[in-house]
Amino acid sequence: MDLAVRQQLLIASLACLPGLAFGEWLDWSAEAEVALGSDDNVNMAVDDFEQDDESLAITARLGRSMLLDSAEHANTRLRLSADISREYYNDWDDLTHTRIGAVFQLQHKTGLGMTAPRLSASLSANYEDVRDSYRDAWHYSALLGIDKRLGPRLDLGIAAYYRFRDGEEWTEATTELGSKVYNSDHGGLTVSARYSLLPRLRLSASASYYDGEFDSDCADLLSPGGGNAYGGGLANLGREPIWKQFGVKAIAADQVFACRWLADGDGYGLHSDLVWSLSRASNVKLRLAYREIEMDFGEDYSNTSLGLSYRYRF
């Protein structure tokens, strides 16, 4: 489907939502967020080829919830939201991007009381417009989860998800594999816990397992043949088609980091947030995340990222 058509459909569907009449709409909710981030491996490369960077992201969100049940019970809620963000990178300016998206989420509480388990399902779609236009892509995700409070302080959850990225076909496809390195999908499972350290300070932690297709930097592949990881370009690939042995699904010259490929792999991630609620309308969040992906052919890469954000609800 054409990009413009999909964007129009996204906007039109959001515009039509208030017209739905099978439940009770709650108030609109709008908020803004400013986030500083740091990532030690923005190119997702193996050791010695990692590139780090810092970023600044500004996000605006608008959403609304609807109680879907009959007049007497409020156990099912539909939440619709849209967001737009702009993220600026400090050194790798070509990674700067704008993202616009929407989330459709259903939540169902399975009983009465704080500790009743909550089921959730969500679908999201967003479009990422990157300064390096080869990275432009639609991102879709689906999630099914269940959460349960064990008490007022502790909340546990488990969720399964699937993500699909519909990337562009690069023009520099020089191998028979094609160059859609940003056309990938993977699934995963996440277990999470949220714990109130203080009445206004909450720690969240999660561990995830990933399995599927992952893109990563292949500068190390260029290095032995060309001697210069960022200067060899795809000409080296032609001379030394090592990738053929690796089960690589796509490979292409990267306008930003020299070389990019897509292959099957799996991995895990650890994520923690420390949220300090400043008021009922604002909070500060400190985020620390680690992710390690191992490609099926044996190479692995990892990211450690750190973030600090301020969020305000209007």
Binding site: G63, A74, L112, S277
Partner: protein, 212 residues
């Protein structure tokens, strides 16, 4: 003569001597404890006649207001909703369990709290909403102010068992029980309680990160 008759009639109408109990509640650090319930039961079983009591617990900005209500057993409590979102009020507390399914504005009927005890309230839409109703089995009670002071008035002369309850009380009120004789004039009592931290479910600042 008419004045003397009036004075005589007033004296006849008055009950026996009634006293006053002034209680102070502090924690084990010596800090004043506000919102503690001080209540006195007559050991002779004498209790003044009490008419139907009514109380109101409002819902404002997705919180119960007030967070503590004290009533005499048999009281009717209404739960108006002043938010522009519906609430679903419930309690699992033994002897006073109830549920008012999703509603806006004024709940259909007030809830009668027939049995003494502590009633913990919640909202099934907003898990962080919590409040307490203390249902007393005596009409003699008061709630401490910011200085930790409570005054029980119009106590008929006699012997009373006085206890204290607070939402953060560590232990049972019976362990704090003091017996006091009420006669003409005020009587002072001091209570020192051990407290524990009381947690409410997390209320997030972001509608997009929070579920129920």
């Amino acid at each position: 003569m008419r004045t003397l008759t009036l004075v005589f009639c007033i004296l006849l109408a008055l009950p026996g001597w009634s006293g006053e109990l002034r209680a102070t509640v502090v924690n084990d650090k010596g800090e004043a404890v506000a919102e503690a319930v001080v209540y006195a039961r007559s050991t002779q079983g004498t209790t003044a006649a009490v008419g139907m009591q009514r109380a109101t617990i409002d819902q404002v900005d997705k919180e119960f207001v007030p967070a503590l209500t004290v009533v005499y057993q048999g009281a009717e409590v209404s739960f108006p909703n002043n938010d522009n979102i519906r609430h679903h009020v419930y309690s699992f507390s033994r002897g006073n369990a109830f549920e008012i399914p999703l509603y806006a504005d004024q709940a259909a009927a007030p809830v009668t709290f027939a049995n003494p005890g502590v009633v913990a309230l919640g909202c099934n839409v907003h898990d962080w909403m919590s409040a307490y109703v203390f249902v007393a089995d005596t009409p003699y009670f008061d709630v401490t102010d910011a200085a930790g002071s409570a005054t029980l008035t119009a106590l008929p002369a006699g012997e009373y068992e006085v206890e204290v309850w607070h939402v953060s009380l560590r232990g049972k009120p019976e362990k704090l029980r003091q017996t006091v004789a009420i006669e003409e004039g005020p009587v002072a009592l001091n209570f020192s309680i051990k407290q524990k931290r009381v947690w409410k479910a997390w209320r997030g600042s972001s509608e997009f990160e929070e579920g129920y």
